[in-house]
């Protein structure tokens, strides 16, 4: 189990291929790496389902092919490259961040940044003048006219 963990840790998606002449993998390690690869490949006869999750005949046969290649000493990267060479980049559930595929990764981030900026500007407008470059108009400080003062006194007087 510890070995498997070490191998998985040493073999991330971008990891360098392991040497071919290392010790043969244990059955548990083969299982683990097979599942790892099968989870990243699209089942060709399904709708957006991984080879690992599909019970279709072709997906199960693909799992057999993956298992044999892993057991023969190929790295997960090599096995995935084999399927890409046959089915094209479409077979990878997660597109490689390359070329036009980069848009898939960059557009959402750009949209969030843009939306955030718009929202920030708008919220500052809503929360009023605090710290904004347009100060609110000063309250008028003119004294009341005599007429107004007389009216005000009358109102206060009648309320009592």
């Amino acid at each position: 189990m510890l070995m498997a963990a070490v191998i998985l840790a040493a073999n991330p998606v971008t990891g360098a291929p392991r040497p071919q002449d290392r010790e043969p993998l244990s059955p548990a390690e083969v299982d683990q790496l097979t599942a790892e690869v099968a989870a990243q490949l699209r089942c060709p006869v399904c709708r957006n389902q991984a080879v690992l999750e599909s019970s279709s005949g072709l997906a199960r046969q693909m799992q057999t092919v993956i298992r044999e290649k892993i057991a023969a000493g190929e790295t997960p990267e090599q096995v995935k490259a084999y399927f890409v060479s046959r089915y094209g980049g479409w077979i990878l559930l997660k597109p490689e961040p390359r070329g036009i595929n980069l848009l898939v990764y960059l557009l959402p981030a750009a949209a969030v940044l843009f939306g955030g900026a718009v929202l920030f500007r708008q919220m500052r407008r809503w929360t009023g003048s605090v710290g904004s470059e347009e100060p609110a108009p000063e309250p008028p400080d003119e004294a009341l006219s005599e007429e107004e003062e007389a009216w005000l006194r009358r109102q206060i007087g009648s309320a009592r």
């Binding site: 060709p44 006869v45 046969q61 693909m62 890409v84 046959r86």
Partner: protein, 180 residues
């Protein structure tokens, strides 16, 4: 700036809608094969009659490699097209070769008895050859030039006009004195 934003915000969904509209014009059926222009993956498989056949034995002819199954309805539709190809082209020029996909030989034999045709079909246990060719459904057909390179892939049933124009162009390209 204020005037510009007033117009810009309602226009924001336009590129998204344009992208989605473009998506509607594209068929999921016509995923390009990663193998066009490559040598066809080699295989040696058993025919339905029990003989062993290697793909490389057929080099020198234009090959129509047809993945099919007896349970596949569109395969019935395209069957007469393949039958016509075996009649209209001589065997030294063009070879139709079936590869049975996820099917049992007995059903395939009944299918051939019922719909006619005497071209060879090889069995593909475990779909290894289908996976090697990047097949994801039937029918799928690969057109191989005389050197064994994959020139074209058809997903879905073949039509006579498509088969003829593809085969004729491959025959013309391989004719002595042309293109050399």
């Amino acid at each position: 700036m204020k005037g510009a934003t007033r117009w810009l915000i309602p226009l924001l969904p336009v590129p998204v809608l344009a992208l989605l509209a473009f998506g509607l014009t594209r068929s999921a059926q016509v995923l390009p094969s990663a193998l066009i222009g490559e040598m066809a993956p080699e295989f040696t498989l058993q025919t339905m009659e029990g003989d062993s056949l290697a793909l490389s034995e057929l080099h020198g002819q234009v090959i129509v490699l047809n993945f099919w199954a007896s349970w596949c309805i569109p395969c019935r539709e395209e069957h007469p097209v393949l039958a016509r190809a075996t009649r209209e082209y001589s065997e030294g020029d063009v070879r139709v070769l079936g590869v049975l996909y996820q099917d049992d030989p007995a059903s395939a034999e009944r299918f051939m008895m019922r719909y006619g045709g005497d071209w060879t079909t090889v069995l593909d246990p475990g779909s290894r050859t289908a996976i090697d060719f990047g097949v994801y459904g039937v029918p799928e057909s690969f057109f191989l030039d005389t050197e064994g390179k994959i020139a074209h892939k058809q997903i879905g049933p073949l039509t006579w006009s498509l088969l003829r124009s593809t085969v004729d162009s491959l025959l013309a390209a391989s004719a002595p004195g042309v293109g050399s």
